[in-house]
Amino acid sequence: MATATHLLTEKEARAHPPMEAVVVRFAGDSGDGMQLTGGQFTLSTALAGNDLATFPDFPAEIRAPQGTTFGVSAFQINFGSAAIETAGDQPDVLIAMNPAALKVNASEIREGGLIIADDGEFSQRNLAKAGYDQNPLEDGSLAKWQVVHFNISQLTLDAVKPFGLGNKEALRCKNMWTLGLALWMFDRDRQPIVDWLKAKFAKAPELAEANIAALNAGHAYGETVEMGAPFKQHHIAPAPAEPGLYRTVTGAEALALGLVAGCQLAGVNMFFGSYPITPASPLLHHLARLKEFGITTFQAEDEIAAICAAIGASYAGQLGITSSSGPGIALKTEAIGLAVMTELPLVVVNSQRGGPSTGLPTKTEQSDLYQAVYGRNADSPVPVIASRSPADAFECAIEACRIATRYMTPVILLTDGYIANAAEPWRVPDMTGFAPFPVSYFDTPPAEGQSVMPYSRNDELARPWIKPGTPGLEHRIGGIEKAPGTGNIDYRPEVHQEMSDTRASKVLGVVNSIPDQDICLGREGAELAVVGWGSTFGPIHQAVRRAIAAGKDVAHIHVRHIWPPPKNLGPLLKSFKKVIVPEMNMGQYKTLLRDQYLVDAQPLTKVSGHPFRIAEIEAAIDRALS
């Protein structure tokens, strides 16, 4: 995300043309370690003080057949000396570890961009696997780009020879050789990577040494080889940023930290029930290591058991949290309804992916908005919030814990595959700046002859949280309609009407404790508002920034609270002449806005599994204004 967004005026943005930002894509076979290379390059970029955004793009297959196009794994990073909010529209540099990686990625490279290829992998057999009749490095078909190629495989083998590794193991160091070269290209310090390798291979020092040798050899190659113009060293100055301590963070990490923080601020222990699913599993992995924070993680037998155990834990006084992706959330739906009915706190995280069904498990989409807001049987209102970036996921997780415990309700927190895997610099928050919202458990037994009242309500219509184990307050709850106050089974018509109304009013009342909707860029009442939610923040923001810089009357509004919407959202949207809603689905939030406010919100949709490009949104802005 833009660590520097707020510091940049439109004029300043104009003064900083994209020359100061570079988009690099590492692409190779899924066994080539491209995600690792990208991750370490990201760290080095962050340490160099550049702003950055990344886009890991990997296949659904863990180890697809070697050398095939569907087994290509890529990692893209956009970094620069100005605010960076997206992973970049078009790579300036492609590092292709084999013919398949070149085949899949070449067309996306900016015209005139640089392609670096490992020609050691361009054998007849690999060319055929990638679908090339002739070697593209030799037949002139890459003339649109500047191409340099050398035998990275052989150079790596030479570099690690002294360590006596087998051929296969030695070739595994290729990615470090490549990283070394990339570090040289952008004038980076190698030491942090060396430290990381030593820690990673602490139990196999010879592997650490071999990888370090490969890293150094790649770096030295850049320094000594005379390649000429396209292949030169660049120095990207650090980006302006608010002073403070920084680290890089992925969405999954930020989310895990935010949930830990949310539970601490609420003063409850966390119970995290989950079932493995792409791309949500990293959250379980992160939390499973943090036992000292009073966290119990439970890998359940299925998605349903995961949420049911979380609800059970909430019933017993912890904060139950469950996490999944769309197909898993579908399975949890009935249990979310029970949490609505019994009014227990619960956080449900959905890391959205392409669908329907199994869909595109490793690709991103925002197509579970209907599911989150409307996707349950009967009238089952649930607050829904959406995070816009990896760093924003931290605050959204805290917000989800706050709403769940304050209103005694399940809360759905939407994120997506892009946010979960993408990394960005994050200014480490000062935790004393967050106001605690401690929960209280009700423990006063009723007077003699009076009933326990688990469904009595406070001013905000929240019911008391009574933990089993509390003497004198024994009571029964369940999914059957219940009487106000006592919670005893009661399905008389007027009772169901009253309880349905109360549940809806309670959730709508959440607006009273959330901020009014702000405008990120531009002015109220402009010609056009571009309204987004979730991970489309980056491309929308940059597109609107450019439009404003070009003198266009456009505003960017980005909504965190999907349901209930902020109080002022309706009047705000009505102030604009036109509204467009870019989203990575077929137009779901657009429908919600039309329904709630009768505004003529126009969709801009994309479901390719890839985030929007800035240019796509710029074009939509131009169309809307023409």
Binding site: L7, L8, A46, L47, G49, P192, W196, A237, P238, A239, P240, A241, P243, G244, L245, Y246, R247, T248, L257, A261, Q264, N269, F271, L290, K291, E292, F293, G294, I295, T296, F298, A300, E301, I304, A305, A306, C308, A309, I311, G312, A313, Y315, A316, G317, A335, L338, M431, K467, P468, G469, T470, P471, G472, L473, E474, H475, R476, I477, G478, G479
Partner: protein, 338 residues
């Protein structure tokens, strides 16, 4: 636990809630409810520490009638809720109330996993071999040929044997009882005394949709002949001691012998092989009842909590340190002017 308060003396009445019981007149569920309410005062547990958790079905209304904490959840999932409750507060005494459809059809997966994990809880499976609440469809325990609204020409699929399912899932306590039988409280007490998941199948008569389906071993006139009540360390005798069970060593199965035959075997609940044979005895044999198998093992929640404790040892819950982890860098002031 910081303080141990004495458990107040109670009677069965103290365990009954003020809610009107709404099962069909004559339903076996009434007998089980009474048996449980009669048993509770003898268990040495406090009402507020007791939680009854159920799924969906006739039997799953049970928690509403107990003056304890109770959670009527969703169909088939009671074991998953119970797992969350017990992990969040291991001091709670957790009972799962379920039926043949709830536990073995829609919730078969959770039943398997709660048993293999060995969560400390009591699972009372009310088996009436029918779906009562949905008006009489056949269930996964219905016998082949069961005529029901959904199987007007008779069911064709073979039923599951609940106790074999439990044994196969790794249960460490497997018992059987009968709704109206005087021995039921003893079975419940044994289940409660067992640390870990205690699986109790209760043959429960549905007077409306499946009346007398268990008559072949429950009707008064043949009960002695057709019921074998197992006692640890005691000979496996029935028919008033006139008959007993012995091992047919050649065929590796059980056989009926005279009660005074020295080959009559003594019940060792730890013997899983014999337990399997007892559960699956053919119809000409008596029905094995009581505690069929018991071999305690560490419980799930104890293992989880112990691991949580060990992993947290020596570490502090320092949130500021946690968010500041990893490779960080300091920006002192803006690195360049725009």
């Amino acid at each position: 636990m910081n303080e141990v308060s004495p458990i107040p003396t109670t009677t069965a009445k103290d365990w009954a809630s003020d809610q009107e019981v709404r099962w069909c007149p004559g339903c076996g569920d009434y007998a089980v409810l009474k048996a449980v309410q009669r048993t509770m005062p003898d268990l040495g547990v406090a009402r507020e520490k007791t939680v009854f958790i159920s799924g969906i079905g006739c039997s799953s209304r049970f928690p509403y009638y107990m003056a304890t904490y109770g959670f009527h959840t969703i169909h088939g999932r009671a074991p998953a809720f119970a797992t969350g409750v017990k992990l969040a507060n291991p001091e709670l005494d957790v009972w799962i109330i379920t039926g043949d459809g709830d536990a073995l059809s829609i919730g078969g997966n959770h039943t398997m996993h709660v048993l293999r994990r060995n969560l400390d809880c009591q699972i009372l499976l009310f088996n009436n071999e029918i779906y009562g609440l949905t008006k009489g469809q056949y269930s996964p325990t219905s016998r082949v040929g069961t005529r029901s609204p959904s199987t007007p020409f008779g069911s064709v699929d073979r039923p599951v044997t609940p106790c074999m399912f439990a044994l196969g899932s790794g249960a460490r306590f497997v018992a059987r009882g009968i709704d109206v039988h005087k021995n039921l409280p003893d079975v419940l007490k044994a289940a409660h005394a067992h640390r870990g998941a205690s699986f109790v199948e209760i043959y429960q008569n549905c007077v409306v949709y499946n009346d007398d389906v268990f008559a072949s071993f429950t009707s008064r006139e043949i009960a002695a002949e057709k019921q074998l009540w197992l006692q640890a360390g005691e000979k496996m005798l029935f028919a008033g001691g006139a008959k007993g069970l012995a091992l047919d060593v050649d065929r590796l199965c059980l056989k009926v012998v005279d009660g005074d035959d020295p080959a009559v075997i003594v019940h060792d609940p730890r013997n899983k092989g014999i337990a399997a044979m007892l559960i699956e005895m053919p119809e000409s044999f008596p029905m094995a009842l009581g505690v069929i198998y018991e071999d305690p093992a560490p419980t799930f929640e104890a293992a989880v909590l112990e691991q949580n404790r060990a992993a947290a040892k020596g570490k502090s819950a320092d949130l500021q340190a946690l968010v500041s982890k990893g490779q960080t860098w300091m920006v002192e002031k803006e690195p360049h002017k725009l």
